[in-house]
Amino acid sequence: MLTTVAAGRVYDYSYCIGMYSQDGRGFWAPQDFVLGPNGRIYVLSRGVEQLGQRVTKINFDHDFQGQFGSVGEGDGGFVWPRSIDLDRHGRVFLTDEYLNRVTIYSEEGSYRYHWGRSGSGDGQLSGPSGIAFDSQGTVWVVDSLNHRVQSFSQIGEFQSKFGKRGDGDGDLEMPWGICIDRQDNIYVADWGNNRVQKFAPTGELLVKFEGSSAGVGSLKGPSGVAVDSDGDVYVTDWGNHRVQIYAADGQYITALVGDAQEPSPWAQTYIDANPDIIKARRRTDLEPEWRFRRPVAVNVDADDRIIVLESYHHRLQIYNKLKDYEEPLINL
């Protein structure tokens, strides 16, 4: 469905950005993205082995604005880049879950510095994944293989931590993504426990998002989470290839499954260049292509547009949350 109506909300599919590319215009196994000033989007590609790792700079109009970073263990390099976020100055903070460090780049991608040490002690990291800033500029990092969340100053000074391995309330099992709302509450994608948990900055558990006991609204390996201006919560249900939507109190609302029936302009250029591909596409059901496959990260912009990144399909799908929607005539 291009338009999804549920519980008083309306989600209207808009368009998609991106395509597969080992380098340059496109993404390769992208894992995270962040929205910058002036409509810029930074997309982090994981690539494979020694190929394809980079941060791509684009905008909502499909303009390719360059890329930075590459594989390597030296300054500014990365091996297993996982997540990115921007501080209030627009600097790019990037986690590397193999090197166990956070690397900081300028707005345009020049290397600045990095911090992080391997280990399980306070301030040490093992498989850092999600990263987010609160309103005070504190950096919150999902310390995935230590099954906890830690906070740091922007130069890497340890500040606090919460969470431990387990499946009880407030426990974490290989958590992945993170987001922080306007009240500085922290949402953690508790990947191994198939849920999202919302914590106060003190680490106190506030709400769980995991659907009902009957399986409605359930999650399988959630990877990313975002909150809109109404408090609705969006979770990339990575293992089920969908985005689950919940109200602020955890009540399940609906799901998005992907609607990219029209290829992105980049993809269309590729298709148009090959008559055999055009022919082949006319003979087959393209639905597997336009549905989500491994939705991995989600963000909501200032206009409450919901933007979903797909790892497997190397693209972003964009939905509008309509405020002024009117139902079509029922007797059409």
């Binding site: 395509m19 597969y20 496109g26 390769w28 196994a29 894992q31 994981r46 690539g47 494979v48 082995e49 020694q50 394809g52 091996v79 297993w80 193999y98 992945w176 990947w191 390996g221 293992g239 290829p263 992105s264 980049w266 993809a267 590729y270 298709i271 055999d276 591909i277 082949a280 596409r281 003979r283 087959t284 393209l286 597997p288 292509e289 496959r293 491994r294 991995v296 790892s311 497997y312 399909h313 190397h314 693209r315």
Partner: protein, 490 residues
């Protein structure tokens, strides 16, 4: 000496008394695990020996009782592996599974069937579909041959590899039908040209559904499709049977043939027991051990082609138990076995594609066999250049004392030598061979190892400097063992 106390647990110390399994049991278990898996560490061998040989065989034969590789975890850390279009990445995906599987026979059978149903990326140009074919081998590889043949016939990679998408009523393409009889079941001399044509007619209409082409959004699976309008439903006569056969009817007839039993028996013997000539010469070259082939063929016939039953007979047979080091390791066996023993690439770590490429550089590019006949094995794995690569690869791994498996081997050697208080070169060499899974070497190799062991002294470890020097010295012996002729054999 505190270190020694900590390491005594390695030897299974009980109430202060060191309990050692019978060495011959360890040797036999090591043999079984080199063949039915990719080799075990000394510690794993002891654990298996405690269960008993036949019980371990049964455990291997039912891989579904052990945890499978967690694909969700794999694709979280290696997201680019899922749906990968590149050959080395798909190869790396398989190598990861070979190293980390808790179902060694399942993975070894996948390698066996890949050798038998050799399907190559050189033509298919879709490594993802070849990876899916390997998944068929995992799922059906220990079931009945009949069911496996049907699944392979429906594999889009196989359909494309042998041109069955072009096999239609009135426009027969015999490629699949010919290889089905010649290389996948009966063997040359057990069918006629008419049988090939009739088999091909039965498989008309078995094709691939229209597919979403690769890119711009990655790869999409190919799917089997049966088109009744393209199928020749008229009467056929195949191997003396007459009827309006479809493909599955042909497979039913094939699976019941004594020639199929002998053919598969010889393949299994060649892969699991001892080197044999290449399949292309089987019609003129008798088996090395005809009685063994008959025993395996009988197991096939008695079980109606149940692969698990045939392997049970094989692994429990005397001819198998007596065939230690009678096969040259394939590159995949050598590489995966070495890496497993050295404790490298356990879990998630970058660099698997280099291991996958190494298989190719040593002559076994996974998912890309040289032809439908598969690889030429045995001594044909070896030429001077490849031998150097094999030796250098294994020696480099065992020379890296930072690897946990190498450290475990060295520690075991030190503990063994110090517990026995026998610091003779002979004792050091024996301890090294023991720690590497009771490897058996010739007298000449043994003498060479002794020469080096004479430089080791009494393996001192009182200071960090002594300990590091001793680690290096023992590691050098391990390196020499890995470079020996004997290490090339399974």
């Amino acid at each position: 000496m505190l270190l020694i106390g900590a390491w005594l647990s390695v030897l299974g110390s009980i109430n202060g008394e060191v309990v050692m399994p019978h060495q011959e049991d360890i040797r036999l278990m090591a043999h079984l695990m080199r063949r039915a898996g990719f080799g075990d560490t000394r510690e794993e061998l002891e654990e298996r020996v405690s269960k008993g040989y036949e019980a371990v065989v049964e455990e291997l034969l039912y891989p579904e009782r052990q945890p499978a590789i967690d694909d969700e975890l794999l694709y979280r850390f290696f997201p680019g592996y899922e749906g990968a279009g590149a050959l080395p990445i798909n190869q790396a995906n398989w190598v990861f599974r070979m190293i980390n599987t808790q179902r060694p026979l399942e993975e070894k059978m996948a390698l066996f069937w890949h050798q038998l149903f050799a399907t190559s990326n050189s033509k298919v140009d879709n490594p993802l579909e070849l990876t899916r074919q390997i998944a068929i081998f995992r799922e059906y590889g220990l079931g009945t041959y009949r069911d496996l043949l049907v699944e392979v016939a429906k594999s889009p990679a196989m359909i494309f590899w042998l041109d069955n998408q072009g096999n239609r009523d009135g426009a027969i393409n015999e490629n699949w039908g010919r290889e089905l009889l010649e290389l996948f079941s009966l063997g040359v001399g057990n069918y006629s040209e008419d049988d090939i044509r009739e088999a091909a007619r039965a498989f008309t209409g078995w094709t691939i559904a229209p597919k979403i082409p690769r890119n711009p959004y990655g790869r999409f699976h190919w799917l089997f499709d049966y088109k009744p309008e393209d199928h020749d439903d008229r009467e056929k006569t195949f191997l003396g049977y007459t009827g309006n056969f479809n493909g599955e009817d042909i497979v039913d007839i094939i699976a019941d043939q004594p020639a199929t039993a002998r053919f598969l028996a010889r393949h299994l013997y060649r892969f699991f027991v001892a080197d044999e000539p290449h399949v292309a010469s089987w019609n003129i070259t008798p088996p090395v051990d005809p009685e063994a082939i008959e025993l395996l063929a009988d197991a096939y016939n008695e079980s109606r082609g149940d692969i698990r039953s045939i392997l049970r007979a094989l692994f429990n047979s005397e001819f198998f138990k007596n065939a230690r080091f009678a096969r040259v390791k394939s590159p995949a066996e050598l590489i995966v076995g070495t890496v497993r023993m050295a404790g490298n690439y356990e879990g998630f770590k970058p660099g698997l594609n280099n291991l996958a490429l190494e298989c190719g550089w040593q002559g076994q590019a996974l998912l890309n066999p040289p032809s439908v006949e598969g690889w030429h094995t045995g001594s044909e794995w070896i030429d001077p250049g490849v031998l150097m690569r094999r030796v250098n690869f294994a020696a480099r791994i065992f020379g890296d004392v930072s690897l946990p498996g190498v450290q475990a081997i060295v520690k075991r050697v030190l503990v063994n030598v110090h517990v026995e208080a026998d610091y003779s070169p002979q004792a050091i060499v024996e301890a090294c061979l023991d720690a590497m899974g009771l490897l058996e070497v010739s007298r000449a190799t043994h003498s060479e190892l002794i020469v080096h062991a004479e430089k080791c002294g009494d393996l001192p470890w009182s200071t960090h400097e002594e300990f590091r020097a001793t680690m290096r010295n023992v590691s050098k012996i391990l390196t020499l063992i890995a470079a020996s002729r004997e290490y090339q054999f399974a």
